[in-house]
Amino acid sequence: MSAKTTIDKTQVALLIATAAFAAAGVIAPYWLCFLTMLALAKALVVQGVVIQMRLGLVSFGQGLFFGIGGYAVGIASNFWGISDAFVLLALALAAAVAVAAVLGLLMARYRDIFFAMLSLALSMILFGVLVKSQGLGSTDGFNVPAQSYLGWVPAPGQQKLVAYVLTIAVVGTVALLLCRYLGSGAGQIAEAVRENEIRVEYLGLSPRWLIYASYVMAAGVAALGGALTAFATGHVDPEMAYWATSGEFVFIALLGGTAHVAAPFLASILFSVVRTYAFEYTPHTWQLILGLVLLAIIVFLPKGLWSLVQREGKVRA
């Protein structure tokens, strides 16, 4: 099969999956929808981590944009009285992109561990600012009221399903765009940058420009994830920008691997399920379980869970 049809089929599969997930919202119990919503919103942030990982950069501060997205929604709906979900999503996106457009100028100069550490420092500065902001509830954060949709306010009973469908729609759209990106020229060059930055430069391209663009893009999807999380939980707090939250995103990114656009979604849902059951069955040692799972993945599946899917595919082909 040729490269072109591969991409098209993946996109079709994504569309089918989006529709299936949306339909599942009607029949599945709500706690599962809620878990899926949070997992998918989180997966968007993870997509941001993966975008940068494909360039060979690991951000330990993606919580910065997750937090910006969440707080943009929180502040706009609580203090400015904006309740339209689409406007809020746009605001979250705009806020993160604006911040990333400035910080990216600095970040694009860094590589390896220094990129990781500087991104961590920047997210911790936001954490510090939020903790200091008593008007925003400090560490307790604040609650986010329910959304409206282009002037339509769903009845209280419908609110949850609508939020679920919105999440699926946003995630599906982003997944399609990312899928296009991964197969695009820029997506291909991103991998080249990871492999050999100097060569990319000598092909007449600017690795730094691509890193900058990816940083901004990653910030945008992370902010959408933050906004959707705020919609789902109805609460934002500074923990969103804390380094351990960012660490979790990296964790999930590695769990899935960078090979396919669906990998972070799969990994995120799996992570949520594993953690939920670890919480339930081993409330005292769930960290131990997570740590062992992570180690096992790194040692036995260094390219993430997706390599299982690929291996299976190859055997059949």
């Binding site: 490269a3 197969g183 695009s184 020229g185 492999e195 050999n196 060569r199 000598y202 007449g204 391209l205």
Partner: protein, 261 residues
């Protein structure tokens, strides 16, 4: 004849070491120039400066009459001067085809599209043609890390040629290549170069190669050019025999320790 590359009083020091000492070089269009010199004579430094990787301490560099001093390598590449590397600089985890696709994307524009597919049928056809031209089409779908050394050098040069440069700088094209493969490799490269009318400057340790392919030799010693002229004349030069050729104790085809992982 038109001068394609010119350097004026090009100097570069690394601490106390003078790697380039007032180099004045003129390369004319369609020439094939060989650069010889012992290790540390300043050959790679010269290429690195000309292609923008290193900035000179002083001096001027003109490409097709325009100053390229202070330009980034990508800008110089876009202007039409490409290079290959002593240790092939490739994307090891990508397939050979994808390596060339990357090169082609770079050749097509400075800002690749975020939505249009990288592997368009047109690009693949173009890359296949180049692979065939360089005789590595059989490796098309292998990841580069699994490709033998000689083929890597060819792919490295093929990638430089994708952008249809007017000038090509080759840094030791046959280093790391076995004795048997050397001439075949150079024949392939030089055929492609001639077909596209590219001016070539290459650094080489192997005097046999140099004598066979070049129209002119620059001999470097300690950051200076000590001889410049047709191969026969330079090879006969007393100082060149003493300071450059005499140093060539390294057996041909020996593998250098790679600076790359």
């Amino acid at each position: 004849m038109n001068t394609i590359l010119e350097t004026r009083a090009l100097c570069r020091t690394f601490g106390a070491v003078i790697a380039a000492n007032s180099l004045d070089v003129r390369i004319e269009q369609s020439e094939v120039v060989g650069v010889i010199g012992s290790n540390g004579a300043g050959k790679t430094t010269f290429i690195n400066m000309v292609t923008g990787y290193l900035s000179p301490s002083s001096g001027e560099i003109l490409f097709e009459g325009r100053s390229i001093l202070g330009h980034a390598p990508r800008r110089i590449t876009r202007m039409g001067m490409a290079r290959s590397f002593q240790v092939a600089q490739l994307f090891p985890e990508l397939t050979v085809l994808d390596n060339l696709v990357c090169a082609l994307i770079g050749a097509e524009g400075a800002h690749p599209s975020f939505l249009k597919p990288a592997r368009s049928p047109a690009r693949i056809a173009a890359c296949d043609a180049i692979l065939a031209e360089f005789g590595v089409e059989h490796l098309r779908d292998d990841p580069v890390r699994a490709v033998p050394q000689g083929a890597r050098k060819l792919i490295d040069i093929a990638m430089a040629m994708v952008g249809r440069p007017r000038m090509l700088l080759l840094d030791e094209p046959t280093s790391g290549v076995s004795v048997e493969e050397k001439f075949a490799l150079m024949d392939t490269v030089m055929a492609a170069v001639r077909r596209h009318g590219v001016t070539v400057l290459f650094v080489e340790h192997d005097m046999e190669i140099v004598e066979r392919y070049v129209s002119r030799i620059l001999a470097f010693y300690s950051g200076k050019i000590i001889a410049d002229g047709p191969p026969a004349a330079v090879m006969a030069d007393e100082r060149v025999r003493e300071l450059v050729i005499g140093h060539h104790t390294r057996p041909a085809g020996s593998r250098r320790r790679s600076a790359q992982p």
